[in-house]
Amino acid sequence: MLRKRIIPILSIQNDSLVKTINFKKINYIGDPCNTVRIFNELEVDELVICDIRASLDKSEPNFKLLQDISSECFMPLVYGGGIKSLDQAKKIFDLGFEKIIINSFCFTVHNILSKIASSYGSQALLCSIDVKKNFFGKKLVYSHSGTHNTNHTPLFWAKEVEKRGAGEILLTSIDREGTWKGFDFDLSSYIAKNTSIPVIGHGGASSINDINEILSKTDLSGVALGSMVLYQKKGMGVLINFPNKRLLSQY
């Protein structure tokens, strides 16, 4: 049986590993390579690396850092941040990453998804959808690290990126991200049920119970964890960790 995946998601800024809250407050965690080495020892299912500045600064991905990371990892690796061309995608794949995440540039470069999908296949292409409530409490899709309102509803956009060639969706609730308040259950459940590609839920996880509940009750293919795998507990110090496999149910 295909196991549901539990995926640490690491944010980088320059050469540092950081953690945000609601995509805003940025806290320093440590050295990305050391952290990745620990996750490799813990045999995590997959690892996502996101550069939270690249799109905003219109800068190139940090290829040197990504190379150091990939030489330490023997699990699937995903990179997102600032990718806007096939050339950049190729460089990332050549370093040993399996998948890349495209988000901000889907909105401006219309054919970027189909271009990458036709060269590398949909399985190598993850589309990140960041969702936030607007002033009226309506959940909408935001790009550029949560700074730009696209006015699309999450379901419309999920179906659209699937049509354009995305092979998987990373669905993040900006309102929950870094808050330890639990996943956005309704959003995750609704999107996973109504798309035919795998959906990974992200934002707000605080406990093994949160993970067990959302994976057993929704069609999500996995969850991504930030704070939970970086800190001891809410409000406490940095501790790189990963949920004990025995405490996770079989879904």
Partner: protein
């Protein structure tokens, strides 16, 4: 020395990283002259079937060199993911011929609401033929990382080494004589995959 075929598709970086970890020297090439000299070859591959065969067919002399090594010199060759699918006759993903080294074909997973396509993530295998050197010492609870929308079905069950279930049961590792294929990514499957690549590197030429 292990030769990794570089035809522009596939995760060569991660294969190289893992072979380095198990202290195997690798030579990455697409040159038919170098292929002729090699003693062990890995054919990686991520992408689409026709795109892969096109790229191989377009490098002058490459397909002939590979056929010579596979069928006459009979050196160990391992196809990984799409690289394994290329060993079969053909694929529903395209119209071009595969290498036709192992009788079988590559099909698309049937549509299903419960089993998403691509089959992506960690899955288990059940073994059919434990005598094969490629799967020496693997355990029933070992897990492997898969990413694929098409699967291989061999014509002769004796050529099936491992099977995996995702909606339907398919061949996740195959072997005929000196030719091997794995559908999963050993280079991305922690120590479980490392074992497979170690086994392959220890097969005598």
């Amino acid at each position: 020395m292990i030769t990794i075929l570089d035809y522009g598709l596939g995760n060569i970086g991660s294969l190289k990283n893992m072979f380095k970890r198990i202290r195997q020297n690798v030579n990455i090439t697409s040159s038919p002259c170098q292929i002729i000299k090699s003693t062990k070859i890995v054919i990686p591959g991520v992408g689409s079937f026709d795109e892969a065969m096109n790229r191989i067919n377009n490098i002058k002399g490459l397909k002939e060199a590979l056929n010579l090594k596979a069928l006459h010199h009979k050196i160990p060759i391992l196809g990984v993911c799409l690289g394994m699918q290329l060993l079969t006759h053909k694929s529903e993903e395209g119209t071009l011929d595969g290498f036709k080294w192992i009788p079988g074909e590559t099909k698309r997973f049937p549509k299903s609401s419960k089993f998403k396509i691509p089959h992506m993530g960690w899955n288990e295998v059940s073994s059919r033929n434990l005598k094969s050197k490629l799967i020496k010492n693997i355990n029933h609870d070992d897990r492997y990382y898969f990413v694929h929308s098409y699967y291989v079905k061999v014509h002769n069950e004796d050529h099936s080494l491992l099977k995996t279930k995702h909606n339907i049961e398919f061949d996740s590792a195959i072997n005929k004589d000196n030719l091997y294929g794995v559908q999963f990514h050993p280079e991305k499957s922690h120590k479980y995959g490392m074992k497979i690549l170690k086994n392959f590197s220890e097969i005598s030429c």
